[in-house]
């Protein structure tokens, strides 16, 4: 089981990373049209260093994605707790209402937001983009956290309450730590949903302020240069670095490893 399982995981990772590897390789390839054979160059990274617009857009993207991850995970987890722990009238309806933001193509949701935000005076800009991104991420969070909650034993919390703990205390002392993997997974998803979201950003960004996907999408008419690959590679490297650092930090925090 263990060996077969690890081989399977290896193959899955190979599949997941094949196009990522191509993306990274093309950042170091001279051809603007992704032509092979490869001619190694650092040209695209140099060009990127002077491309203030793309760098600013990338910074915006990361900032919005962070805000989205925090807000959507908080709101979505609260809703998931209510939906999976309490039986109440209208619960099925509320669960069904999570589907439209996923099922309706983002192009339509984005257009609808553009029109509605103007009618109501919410307007375009950073605040509008965060409003939109969080809304699209909430259903993902509710579903992911809900899955985690269903596999979690509610009796532990009830036991704590029956032993005299307040429900709120029991939640923070027992449920939250057990739920941590789901929360992390949900936050990672919310971050991803926001980081790759171009339609809503595209409609809600103001001129002169944009995000990385908006820059990429707008430049496809003429052609995006491998500078895009270069910035994607850097973002990927930064994420890996962040993971490594956080792994080291949790080890220093002395969290016991389960073996």
């Amino acid at each position: 089981m263990t060996l077969a399982g690890r081989i399977l995981l290896g193959l899955v990772l190979l599949f997941l990373y094949a196009p990522i590897a191509v993306m990274v390789l093309m950042a170091f390839n001279a051809s603007e049209l992704y032509s092979l054979p490869m001619v190694p160059t650092l040209h695209w990274f140099e060009a990127l260093a002077g491309n203030d617009k793309l760098l600013a857009a990338s910074r915006n993207s990361v900032a919005i994605a962070l805000a989205t991850a925090v807000l959507a995970t908080t709101l979505g987890t609260m809703a998931a707790l209510a939906l999976s722990r309490q039986a109440f009238w209208g619960r099925s309806l509320l669960q069904l209402l999570l589907l439209p933001p996923i099922a309706i193509p983002w192009l339509i949701t984005g257009t609808a937001m553009l029109v509605f935000f103007f009618w109501t005076g919410i307007g375009r800009g950073l605040h509008a983009m965060i409003l939109g991104h969080v809304a699209l991420a909430i259903p993902y969070v509710v579903l992911v956290v809900g899955t985690g909650l269903r596999s979690l034993r509610a009796d532990l919390e009830e036991a704590a309450v029956s032993l005299g703990s307040t429900p709120i205390h029991a939640f923070f002392a027992i449920t939250l730590p057990l739920l941590a993997p789901s929360l992390i997974a949900a936050a990672l998803f919310a971050f991803a949903v926001s980081l790759d979201q171009f339609v809503v950003s595209y409609f809600l960004a103001t001129p002169g302020m944009s995000t990385l996907p908006v820059e990429i999408y707008s430049s496809i008419r003429k052609g995006f240069t491998p500078e895009i690959n270069a910035i994607s590679t850097l973002l990927l490297a930064a994420s890996v670095g962040l993971f490594v650092v956080s792994a080291i930090l949790t080890r220093m925090g002395g969290e016991p490893e389960r073996r």
Partner: protein, 359 residues
């Protein structure tokens, strides 16, 4: 009450929009005297760094850009952002639509010094002349026709090649209803702007099925697929062919078939809601300056300039000059204004044809 006066509805909406916009735009409105905003396709001349630098140094006006990815989106942005834009690039076939909605202002070419060199046929082009007024400054023009792989395809002289069994699975079409319907209209001997027999056009387009490998929707997609060897014959833009050769060294050749090419004219317009019309016009004047054009065309690659003086300044062997011959101007059928119903019919037919290709 099944009918609501749509003008009222729109006006209400526009008022709300304006309120929303001014609310969130106060900071930039204050700085407006020194900044103009241009709405265009990305990487289409107006955002060339050298041009922006020269313009800002000469006039002290800074230039911001916003982009669109389709013509309807350009119109939507103009409608939903009154006061935000000061210059907009409009395909002249859309001028009458924008004018009818009061989105663009007439311009006085006499107030644009560099307009003196514009080709006479463009100055009075029916697309931009409405009720005797001129609604935009002709900027660049080009043709949609065939682009074929040099060394592999030769002797093509008709759009019939798109259905030729010799090119089975080797054809790429432009995913654009107006262009593809125009191709079939040319093949069936009809007007590209007002074809009488839509059935014949549908059948003609469907006859390309076995040859069609893909439909491209951006120059980038065309370039990457062509460089990857995905197709040999395609419907493509003249200016983009020049760029593919000049910038990417691709073995491609532009062919104007015996049926003719589909011409288009892009003009720079002043949005009616602009608060910086003079600065906008000054920017347009810079954009049709021959010196700007030559540097743009020889640097990044551009379509043909509507300014004869600019074309004359290009080196004699310049690719753009060889592709865009002045004598075409009188022979080409240009994309013209389309009434809403006809545009809708074009889109519906093209959607049906694409679904036919897929199955």
């Amino acid at each position: 009450m099944a009918r609501v006066d749509r003008r009222q509805f729109t006006r209400l909406g526009a008022a709300a929009l304006a309120a929303g916009v001014t609310g969130s735009w106060t900071p930039s409105a204050r700085a407006a005297a020194k900044t103009i905003t241009v709405l265009n396709w990305q990487g289409y001349g107006t955002d060339e760094a050298f041009g922006l630098k020269a313009f800002t140094e000469a006039t002290g006006t800074a230039v911001k850009h916003d982009y669109y990815n389709s013509e309807p989106e350009m119109l939507t942005k103009l409608r939903t952002n009154p006061g935000v834009y000061d210059v907009v690039l409009v395909n002249s076939a859309r001028d009458s639509q924008a004018q009818a909605e009061n989105l663009i202002d007439p311009v006085d070419l006499a107030g644009v010094p560099n307009a003196a060199g514009l080709a006479p046929s463009f100055k009075t082009h029916p697309n931009i002349t409405i009720d005797g007024k001129t609604y935009g400054v002709p900027w660049v023009w080009g043709m949609n026709a065939l682009a074929v792989r040099r060394g592999k395809v030769s002797g093509v002289d008709s759009y019939a090649a798109l259905a030729d069994p010799a090119y089975k699975g080797r054809v790429a079409l432009f995913d654009d209803a107006v262009t593809e319907i125009a191709v079939a209209a040319l093949l069936t001997g009809q007007s590209i702007n007002d074809p009488s027999d839509m059935k014949a056009i549908g059948d003609k387009l469907k006859s390309f099925k076995d040859d069609v490998k893909l439909t491209w929707s951006s120059e980038d997609e065309w370039n990457k697929a062509f460089a990857g060897g995905a197709f040999d014959v395609s419907v493509f833009w003249s200016g983009a062919v020049a760029r593919a050769i000049h910038l990417h060294d691709q073995p491609v050749e532009f062919v104007i078939p015996k049926e003719g090419a589909i011409g288009w004219l892009d003009n720079l317009c002043i949005p009616a809601s602009s608060t910086n019309k003079e600065a906008g016009l000054a920017f347009i004047n810079t954009m049709i300056d021959p010196k700007f054009y030559v540097q743009w065309a020889t640097g990044s690659g551009a379509p043909a300039s509507a300014n004869n003086a600019a074309m004359d300044m290009l080196p004699a062997d310049d690719l753009n000059r060889r592709i865009h011959k002045p004598e075409y101007l009188s022979k080409l059928q240009f994309m013209g204004a389309l009434p809403d119903e006809r545009r809708q019919a074009f889109n519906d037919l093209w959607e049906e044809v694409k679904a036919f290709y897929a199955h």
